[in-house]
Symmetry: D3
Subunit: 137 residues, 6 copies
């Protein structure tokens, strides 16, 4: 493990959402999610940290070119979610409750298919400065 190194790239997007499980009644949703379930949505400045673990390429001194990683995140994640309503504007959360946990897992699954298998991948997502998640743990 000593010869592996992790690199991190931080990006952000702004989105609206509401916590809502479409399989439950409105009463149950209100009880479970409180003000996060308000019908007309609220929103966040999401801070997204993508962690990629691998070996240093002796030619470049990089695990992965962070400029390329940033472009990858922008193309496949930021473009999709930035300035969007997660519940209404995205296929991913049409039937999936857009909690920070689920958003992180969705982003992981998107980037996992775009990233060479030799790399390990981890997603950290800040919903607010005080609430954030990491996947996989």
């Amino acid at each position: 493990m000593e010869n592996k190194i992790a690199v991190y790239r931080k990006e952000h997007f702004n989105a609206a959402h509401r916590l809502h499980n479409t399989d439950l009644s409105d009463v149950e949703n209100a009880s479970l999610f409180g003000k996060c379930n308000y019908p007309n949505y609220h929103g966040h400045n999401y801070e997204l940290i993508v962690k990629v673990i691998g070996e240093v390429d002796p030619k470049t001194g990089f695990v992965i070119d962070l400029k390329l990683l940033s472009d990858l995140i922008k193309e496949h994640v930021i473009e999709k979610f930035d300035h969007k309503n997660l519940n209404l504007d995205t296929i991913e959360f049409k039937n999936l409750n857009p909690t920070a946990e689920n958003i992180a897992i969705v982003i992981y699954n998107i980037l996992r298919t775009k990233l060479d298998k030799k790399y390990d991948l981890k997603i950290v997502l800040y919903e607010t400065e005080r609430n954030y998640v990491e996947y996989p743990a």
Copy 2:
């Protein structure tokens, strides 16, 4: 002026909004506001800093009790805007475009009526870490 001192209290709220001038056509709105005009809203973690300027009360050593100021902000501003859709859920932005500038002015006007006239008041509002406003300048 040397005997005046400023105190600051930082609070936050999360809200959805879209930039939209109800007096303009959809085409004009899209042209003026770009992705900030997307129809289904996006959102932000708004960081709100309330600055109160006055003299130090020799009895308390305070300009104003920041606990009371915090309660005032929570009761009259945070309760009104937190986890809301500014365009749909608030009277203030029914016909007023909820730009950071206009939100700061609205918050100023709310707090100005609640605060003793002996104090000067200033509002700083962060829409994102990189975009923020201050009123009055």
Copy 3:
């Protein structure tokens, strides 16, 4: 492990303390702890991050409701330590040196008994912006 996810909640408290091992002489304490041993205490804004690891509940989309976790931390940790003198006002540090390491372990032990066994738990405690600890490592 891929199906586990971590959630983090950040809280804070302000407390006074001094580093002092009650089993050692004053001379030894002064030599070991320097200005951190000054007799009349100093203090910190402690930033506390509680990390809970588990599986996502498909009903809520949560590992754990962060509002409930926040309430738990406030009730059992913040209430106990906030605006207190750790050495004088708390049972936990009557005979235990309140280093950041020991405070983190004490908080871990408190929360471990309050949290369902299905969750893993980790505590990060910032004593200053430049000095912090994590338990368990």
Copy 4:
């Protein structure tokens, strides 16, 4: 005014204090200051920003050498307050309530006598990330 420029230097110190007006009864103090009046003190990581306004010296390109300003702050402010109990260990707050407002004024008065009269001076003091003061306003 266009040819004046401000330079800022940020330092910090950790101290214990309690809010207490020695001219008032214990009951009045408890009522005015709540948990900030607890008898055994609490504490903070104070962040201190010293702002110096003047003209750029064409020889150095500096308003003032920030290394010298930092040394000045350390010698006359940090040495005095760091790792101290403001109420018990300092002359300045023996009979003066150590609110953030009063600490900022005391620091201003100390540095004003050490700084060339050609400079204007302002003090910003963070007691917590959410509560801070500025003197003069």
Copy 5:
């Protein structure tokens, strides 16, 4: 003044520099600037905050479109200084010592010519988290 509002846009650039007054001897430069004068340069992540003061345009709700302001800063400031050696690669600092003060003044002068006269302009430049300047004061 009550009807004026300030908007802020934060950008950043990374650059190398050394403090060196080309009119002075090497001995004098070393004495004045210490390690900041080392011959082979060092560098910083400069954080640049551009403050624009004006009235809110009732049509847009903006003082100025922050997207346009950001583009203006990127075109005329960031392109010029980012990933450059300020002493060697720029006309502006060929004979001007690249202190934070002078860099802020140079940036002010560049942007002042690009910005409508109806706006007031202020530059804040962070050289490090603990050293920063503001022009005009």
Copy 6:
């Protein structure tokens, strides 16, 4: 593992560098590293976090005295790299491309020899607020 705890100490240094593999042609270097390869260097405020993992010493309540750890980092890392040109002024990067990855590995190797073998060690290095690395992963 439950009885191990990690302590962190944050330090910083400012340095110039350029990304350049001395075994490759100028054309290849320019193609691989873009503006990070500009010939006259650029620079960064590097934030360095040193993580030390061990058991709490019952006498001190410390894993390691963070004052001693800070002194160790300053003597062996900060003195070597602060206000330097990594490519020109240091032996370590004479023939090694000073990417964040390689700088972190070099710092790890330096501190590993200075630190008691009973401790585990990890290095986190921020090149910018948005790009950082961790070694070992």
